[in-house]
């Protein structure tokens, strides 16, 4: 009844419609002569994964991490660097062979980003409140400057990836094919988030957000659960980064910049922190707003701020709150 992770019949229908719409989208886009919509939608889905992963710490766990883009960037660079070593035909650190296989490179991106999250989380989670925000930000900026300094992998200019990773002999160059690969990954990722949110682990995480003191008094080692959530979230961001490296065939330190972390936070909060699909809506809304407003005026950021503010102020729970409001779904 109050279980946010059990969907009513109506919600299930809405989700089915959403998936059907996402499947139909590129075909409709081509039919109406807007083929550029497909790559745009691909980017949206990737952002939805990144924001969804941040939501696990920010929304479900209540940890205000301001350095999430670091893991996104590390994931991207993992794919980029592995590809680079195929190109130059020389193993990484002298023993790790490069790869251009999607099924190796993207899982590697997930694992490497997860390892960084584990390390950073282990230190940052010893603090809380403003200190935690600042420490996550500081670590992310450190990694940002690390990649800026890595001249071997393009430094400031970033790293061009000449080809997308290979997957089952699919034509990954084709925007439509790549869109569906990303769509399947996105659906899988959100299914996973949904399972996690309703699991024993998810119940602990939601309790920690609301009352850490109570959770400790239950005999639960709060720190370990926060660290696990932080690490899983880092892995999700690594996945998104690995996908975007393939999508853009390019990675650069911008992926790790603090403004990217801020953007991900806005997506989560705009869509509805702690709701399952909120970050997906948030990612869609932010990128669409940016695209539309920047088409109208150079000073689009001036307009974006107030719009975000209004939504956040008037609809507690962000866009998810707005949808519930429209749907007349009570509280």
């Amino acid at each position: 009844m109050h279980d946010p992770f059990k969907f009513s019949g109506k919600a299930l229908i809405a989700i089915a419609i959403l998936i059907a719409a996402l499947v139909a989208l590129p075909f409709i886009a081509n039919a109406v002569g807007l083929p550029a919509t497909t790559p745009l939608a691909t980017r949206l889905l990737i952002y939805a994964i990144a924001a969804g992963s941040l939501n696990l710490v920010l929304g479900f766990g209540g940890m205000i991490s301001f350095g999430h883009a670091a893991f996104y960037g590390v994931g991207g660079y993992t794919v980029g660097i592995l590809f680079q070593h195929v190109r130059i035909g020389e193993p990484l650190f002298g023993f790790i062979p490069g790869t251009e296989q999607f099924l190796i490179a993207v899982p590697a991106a997930i694992l490497v980003a997860g390892a960084f999250a584990l390390l950073i989380g282990a230190l940052a989670l010893r603090t809380s409140g403003v200190q935690f925000i600042m420490i996550t930000l500081a670590f992310a900026q450190m990694l940002f400057f690390l990649f800026v300094a890595l001249k071997r992998y393009g430094g400031d200019d970033g790293l061009i990836i000449r080809r997308r990773n290979a997957l089952f002999g699919l034509n990954m160059r084709d925007d439509l094919t790549f869109y569906f690969v990303v769509l399947i990954v996105t659906i899988g990722f959100y299914l996973l988030l949904w399972r996690i949110a309703g699991s024993r682990f998810g119940m602990v995480l939601g309790a920690i957000r609301q009352n850490e003191r109570r959770v400790a008094a239950l005999g639960i080692a709060v720190y370990r659960y926060k660290l696990a959530a932080f690490t899983i979230a880092g892995m999700g961001a690594g996945l998104a980064g690995g996908l975007v490296a393939n999508y853009a065939r390019f990675v650069s330190p911008d992926m790790l910049h603090w403004t990217k972390s801020g953007e991900l936070m806005v997506m989560v909060i705009l869509g509805g922190a702690g709701t399952l699909l909120g970050p997906l809506f948030g990612a869609f809304a932010l990128v669409t707003l940016e695209t539309v407003l920047s088409g109208w005026t150079e000073r689009w950021q001036l307009f974006l701020g107030p719009i975000l503010l209004l939504i956040i102020l008037y609809f507690r729970g962000g866009l998810s709150g707005l949808f519930k409001f429209i749907g007349g779904g009570g509280k």
Partner: protein, 250 residues
């Protein structure tokens, strides 16, 4: 005589210049209800928070079953059998009453690194939690989010949560505070029915409740235990009458 279940030795805690716990030595025997009373600000909650590990004492030791737990973190002490309720209820606003108890059952069963099965459908958690809610008289309110529970119901829920942890020693910080006469009597009856199953350290201002429940009473004033004994001893103790019961001014 066997060693006590809980032994507090020379406990000392200061907040800046304020001495909140002043060389306190106290014990709780297995199965006993030991009441800790004292005026507001006497340092009762501060003692409880040092026992649970939320606060670190400046000096002194805490032994549970003869083992020094003074340096253990909060969660580890719970698994040694130290349960507590809070003076000001500590609950999760969006969770139902049942969620709270099920989470406590889950915590008691061991780690919660299970990521896929839906916890809210898990009979292994829900059934024991249901039984505990029934025990404290909250069964009918199991699916209410705690935000819509009354103050008295929240106090009952605090107790059900503590019971789910199957403590050997339960630290009760003013379980009757803010309850009406009827609710208060129910709580006393409930605690009475639990007496003997585990030991309790009961902090309470309601003297009637204290006298009817406690085997022994310790009186805390300014962080010091000025007397320990049976209800009759305490009522007759001149120091207690002066310092606490507000008599003997003349």
């Amino acid at each position: 005589m066997t060693a006590p279940l809980l032994l507090i030795e020379g406990l000392y805690k200061t907040f800046g210049g304020l001495t909140a716990t002043d060389n306190l030595t106290l014990d709780v025997r297995a199965g006993e209800v030991h009441a800790l009373i004292g005026p507001n600000g006497a340092g009762k909650t501060t003692v409880i928070n040092q026992l649970t590990g939320e606060l670190a004492p400046n000096a002194g030791r805490i032994l549970l079953d003869g083992q020094d737990i003074t340096a253990l973190p909060v969660h580890a002490r719970v698994h040694r059998g130290l349960g507590r309720t809070f003076q000001i209820v500590q609950l999760m606003g969006t969770y139902t009453a049942l969620d709270h108890v099920a989470l406590a059952v889950q915590a008691h069963q061991g780690h919660s690194f299970r990521f896929f099965r839906a916890a809210r459908d898990d009979r292994g958690l829900r059934d024991p939690a249901d039984a505990l809610l029934e025990r404290v008289g909250l069964k009918a309110r199991a699916d209410e989010p705690v935000a819509s529970l009354s103050h008295g119901e929240r106090k009952q829920l605090e107790l059900a949560v503590a019971l789910a942890m199957e403590p050997r020693l339960l630290l009760l910080d003013e379980p009757m505070a803010g309850l009406g006469a009827v609710e208060s009597a129910q709580m006393v009856e409930l605690l009475q029915s639990l007496k003997g199953r585990f030991a309790m350290l009961l902090v309470e201002h309601d003297m009637e409740a204290v006298f009817s429940l406690a085997d022994r009473i310790s009186v805390l004033v300014g962080g010091r235990a000025i007397a320990t004994g049976s209800a009759a001893d305490i009522q007759a103790d001149p120091a207690v009458r002066v310092a606490y019961l507000g008599e003997g001014d003349a």
